[in-house]
């Protein structure tokens, strides 16, 4: 199964990937994606707000969807909330499968979905100015690729 966690604490992508493979002999591929806070245009911090009950429910639903679409052998999705600074990890998607194709596709699917369907909102802090990040049409287009007809 794909485990989903929403937490303020940092995570270690290497530890999470190793945990997926521990004691297994059937896993041939682990794809791990980590999103980090970038110091764009004088950004001091990024604060992530979320809707906890809906986040947990929607993450579990999309994890089940990915599990049904690809032959996966395990996975971990972690999304942080609260105040983060440049260089901090925000999100982890780590997916295990027998062969790389399924792991790459499922990881990309999960990230595209997180960007457009998980109820998180980012506020940028540039010292003098706080601004809510606007949604991007390119993220909607990326997620639309996975819509089943």
């Amino acid at each position: 199964m794909i485990i989903t966690r929403v937490q303020p604490e940092a995570f270690d992508a290497g530890v999470e990937a190793a945990a997926l493979a521990a004691g297994r002999r059937d896993i041939g591929a682990i794809v791990s994606f980590t999103g980090l806070v970038r110091a764009d245009d004088g950004l001091v911090a990024l604060t992530l707000e979320h809707y906890p009950a809906m986040t947990a429910r929607q993450l579990a639903a999309i994890a089940a969807d990915a599990w049904a679409r690809w032959p996966l052998l395990g996975g971990t999705v972690i999304h942080r909330y609260g105040r983060l600074v440049p260089g901090d990890p925000i999100v982890l998607v780590a997916i295990a499968s027998a062969h790389r194709g399924a792991a790459f596709d499922a990881a990309e699917f999960l990230m595209d979905w997180l960007k457009t369907r998980a109820p998180f909102w980012k506020q940028e802090d540039r010292g003098a100015e706080q601004r809510w990040v606007a949604a991007k049409a390119s993220d909607d287009a990326a997620a639309a690729r996975w819509e089943t007809p």
Binding site: E49, Y51, T116, W121, K122
Partner: protein, 84 residues
């Protein structure tokens, strides 16, 4: 009674994260509810004026504005999401 939840700039403009109310009997859909909420305060009106800029979840699922709200317990109003 319905619990309303507001997030991000919708929360800031309204000045509340949460409120409970019993909408008038004429309120049948999400769109009707938004019209009603707009009448409550200048903050509500400012937050809800641009309907293309907000998203709605009824009992933790995304819905369109023509969705009936009969039986809904919790309705959340927020900007398009920006996680990941």
């Amino acid at each position: 009674m319905i619990t309303l939840l507001y997030f991000a700039w919708v929360r800031e403009r309204i000045g509340l994260g949460e409120q409970r109310l019993a909408p008038p009997a004429t309120v049948a859909t999400v769109s009707d509810l938004l019209d009603h909420l707009e009448s409550l305060s200048p903050g509500h009106a400012a937050a809800l004026a641009d309907r293309d800029a907000i998203r709605i979840a009824v009992d933790e699922d995304f819905v369109g504005t023509d969705t009936p709200i009969a039986g809904a317990r919790e309705i959340a109003i927020f900007p398009p999401v920006t996680g990941g």
